[in-house]
């Protein structure tokens, strides 16, 4: 009873303390399982340690409300979880607070943050939290012993019959066509930079155009595979992992030619709680927090020092390391996203891609 009393008063005290500070931070993220992993790994411990309340808001793509709020000069979010190309673009437009790598917490062994983050994960105005991969997954029951292994197999409908699921956008289709056509992963963007390279990618896509089921939302490829509507699909590795491990679906992932993207935290200039926002950003991207997130979702931490701390999935038995896009084995043929290239060309490619889709 006495213990209870102490606990209650301690809790009350904490409540008052939090109220006295009356601090909060508004984080805009992507919703779904991804948001849940951030709530578990970042928000709950952050609120406990600092007394700052974290309000999590979901958006289809947080860059859209961010741009809208900047344009309207009425910023309500403090921290936004956005893609690299958007982070670079908005940074160049002067909408984001610059972040000095020296301010970020060092790794437990003392390595400064600038060296600890995987190259590309630190930008002028944004800090990456996770790496995620767009990968091919297939239904094991459909192919038996003759399982597909490479990106080229995805385009081989004679040897591996069945429909294919692909996202309805140029960014996550053109690279795959080029990989399957024999272009080296690190030469993808040099190839796309030439008109012939773009033609080559579309020509390769032409070979399976009639067999493609186009998807729009991240949940769709998993559903298409589960329904047997397609035999192979590309999608986000975390979603496939969830279907395979949490739901026991007979899928397998082909890591060859995975497309690696980053998600980043950025703080807009003029946010309502700039100090709390920076505090949250530093906390959420420290070594332990990034490793913790992997417990809830199969996305790779952006710090090298986090890799060793990644343990088991929340089910307590699945080793996470083999499912991470950042696993060295999976990085061998990975295509790194080139946000600068896409910032320059996404409208042009989107128009061409849609024109290509519309032409039958």
């Amino acid at each position: 009873m006495k213990k209870m009393l102490i606990l209650t008063s301690a809790l009350c005290g904490m409540g008052f303390a939090a109220q006295a500070q009356n601090k909060e931070v508004n984080v805009v993220s992507w919703g779904g399982a991804y948001e849940k992993s951030q709530v578990e790994a970042y928000n709950i411990p952050f609120a406990k340690e600092t007394g700052i309340k974290v309000n999590m808001l979901a958006a289809d793509n947080p860059a859209t409300p961010l741009k809208a709020q900047v344009e309207a000069k009425n910023i309500t979010g403090d921290v936004f979880d956005i893609e690299v190309s958007d982070a670079i673009r908005l940074c160049d437009e002067g909408a984001l607070v610059e972040i000095n790598p020296a301010d970020l917490p060092a790794a437990p062994d003392g390595t400064p943050a600038a060296d600890d983050f995987i190259p590309g994960a630190l930008r002028e105005c944004a800090v990456a939290n996770i790496f995620w991969g767009t990968v091919i997954a297939f239904d094991k029951t459909k192919f038996g012993d003759n399982a597909p292994k490479t990106a080229a197999d995805f385009f081989d409908t004679a040897k591996f019959p069945g429909k294919r699921g692909l996202p309805k956008n140029p960014k996550r289709t053109l690279y795959l066509a080029l990989i399957a056509d024999g272009v080296a992963p690190d030469a993808i963007y040099d190839t796309l930079d030439t008109p012939e390279g773009v033609d080559r990618a579309f020509a390769k896509l032409d070979t399976i155009k009639k067999d493609v089921v186009w998807w729009e939302a991240g949940a769709q490829p998993v559903q298409l595979l589960a329904d047997g509507e397609v035999t192979m699909a590309t999608g986000y590795n975390g979603r496939f992992f969830d279907a395979m491990v949490a739901e026991g679906k007979p899928f397998e992932i082909i890591w060859d030619g995975q497309y690696m993207d980053l998600d980043m935290f950025a703080i807009p200039k003029g946010s309502p709680n700039p100090e709390a926002a920076m505090q949250y950003l530093k906390y959420a991207t420290d070594t332990q927090r990034l490793a913790d997130q992997a417990k809830y979702i199969a996305y790779g931490p952006s710090r090298k020092s986090s890799a060793a701390l990644v343990g088991l999935f929340q089910d307590g038995k699945t080793e996470m390391a083999p499912h991470m896009p950042t696993n060295p084995e999976h990085m061998k043929t990975a295509v790194m996203d080139d946000p600068e290239w896409w910032a320059d060309h996404d409208a042009e490619m989107a128009e061409r891609f849609n024109a290509w889709l519309a032409a039958n």
């Binding site: 910032a343 060309h345 519309a358």
Partner: protein, 433 residues
């Protein structure tokens, strides 16, 4: 003087008094017409105050944002606002095509300033809309310019990147130095400007918008037609059946209407996909082999089926409300005068349903033209509508000027059709319920 025998005159005289000029006055001596006008003005003002909240609401949440959005389609000051010196040079030298030293100096100074303010991205993005690939030209020049650019500026800039000497780039910068531009509308019509500034067709592999506008209007027409074909008999049944049965039928119509759009769209995916219920039944019945399952979704067919279902209530409800009011004795009279049932329907019944049909068709068509989520999910490649590209420009490429231009054209198309409809059918004949 008034006739003392006329009771009305007597009342008026007593109540208001009639002066020499014969003008009616109220008890306090005011002219009656004036008093009446004042009181009706007061009533009007009161009525206006009652609708004021709605008016403010519509203004704030509808007219203002839409106006702002439409403004974006013609105004983009991304270049002119952040490159002031160069914009001034363009204005001062309207005919000079070859940039002189002053122009190069202005460019270098503007680049330096906007790189310091971190607005260089906005400038680059604006030019990138016209020449894809130039955004990084600006941002990388900005990074180098932060340390300052030394004269001679022309050589310094060309040293950074040869592309700075491209006459096409200078032509586009000249156009962009005016914040008002029609270029987004040109792009929305698959047109572009060549180096001399003439309007030409966009390269073939970039042409997409006109095609999608046509497809959007065409599919919307088809969907309006199918909702009519399916909805008319149902509405008739609803209007003529005894109350108890028609109520039950009504619930069947309304139940899907109350169900979430996403649920209904997903339900069609489950039904129509190749491994779906409908194909399973066909295979089980032996109508088709297991290898020849029909492709009924993720294409135009899927879009038409799903959207017809979703928009059906918007056709049925106005039709039903009009049919309820049609007196059955007209048709009976026609039959008794010797009309066949077809003639009675065609000449007596159908014309009376036109107000409901007009309202339903207009509703369905306008909703279909702007439909977004269903074609995005079930449309595949051939069932995409123009709204999907508007959404893409809003959320993906963040080119809101382009999205605004496309949306304005869609709005314009609908308004034109509305006008045509008004001329052909007459908007007074519309009956929504």
């Amino acid at each position: 003087m008034s006739n003392p025998l006329d009771p009305h005159a007597a009342i008026v005289t007593e109540a208001a008094g009639l002066d020499q000029g014969g003008m009616l006055r109220t008890a306090d001596g005011q002219p009656l017409a004036k008093a009446l006008a004042r009181s009706s003005r007061r009533a009007r003002r009161r009525a206006f105050f009652l609708v004021l909240p709605l008016l403010a609401f519509v203004l704030l949440t509808f007219v203002l944002p839409i106006g702002q959005m439409l403004m974006r389609s013609v105004k983009n000051d991304g270049f002119s606002a952040y490159m002031p010196q160069l914009s001034a040079w363009f204005e001062a030298n309207p005919d000079v095509t070859e940039p002189d030293d002053a122009a190069w100096a202005a460019l270098a100074a503007d680049l330096e300033a906007s790189a310091k303010d971190r607005t260089i991205g906005i400038v680059g993005t604006r030019i990138n809309y016209e020449i894809p690939g130039t955004r990084s030209l600006f941002t990388s020049a900005g990074r180098k310019a932060r340390g300052g650019i030394e004269p001679p500026y022309r050589e310094a800039m060309l040293d950074m990147d040869e592309e700075w000497g491209d006459p096409k780039l200078w032509g586009v910068m000249r156009q962009a130095s005016d914040p008002y531009t029609a270029n987004f509308y040109l792009a929305a019509m698959d047109r572009t400007r060549d180096e001399a500034g003439n309007i030409v067709l966009a390269p073939e592999e970039q042409r997409i918008y006109l095609h999608l506008f046509l497809r959007t209007f065409w599919l919307s027409l088809i969907i309006t037609g199918t909702t009519f074909l399916l909805g008319f008999p149902i509405a008739h049944l609803l209007a003529t059946l005894p109350m108890r049965q028609s109520n039950l039928l009504m619930i069947l119509v309304l139940l899907p209407f109350w169900t979430s759009l996403l649920v209904r769209t997903t339900a069609w995916m489950v039904l129509l996909q190749q491994q779906g219920v409908v194909n399973d039944v066909f295979v089980w019945l032996g109508l088709i082999g297991d290898g020849q399952r029909l492709q009924m979704i993720y294409n135009q067919t899927g879009t038409i089926i799903a959207m017809t279902h979703i928009l059906l209530p918007f056709m049925i409800l106005p039709l039903y409300s009009v049919m309820r009011t049609i007196n059955p004795s007209y048709v009976r009279a026609a039959r008794s005068l010797g009309a066949t049932s077809w003639t009675a329907f065609r000449r007596i019944y159908f014309p009376q349903t036109l107000p409901g049909l007009g309202a339903g068709a207009l509703l369905v068509f306008i909703l279909a033209v702007g439909y977004y989520i269903t074609p995005a999910l079930v449309g595949g490649s051939s069932g995409q509508l123009i709204s999907n590209l508007i959404a893409m420009h809003m959320t993906q490429t963040l080119n809101w000027s382009m999205a605004a231009a496309l949306a304005a054209m869609l709005l314009g198309g609908v308004l034109i059709l509305y006008w045509v409809y008004d001329r052909l059918v007459g908007i007074d004949n519309l009956k929504l319920g």
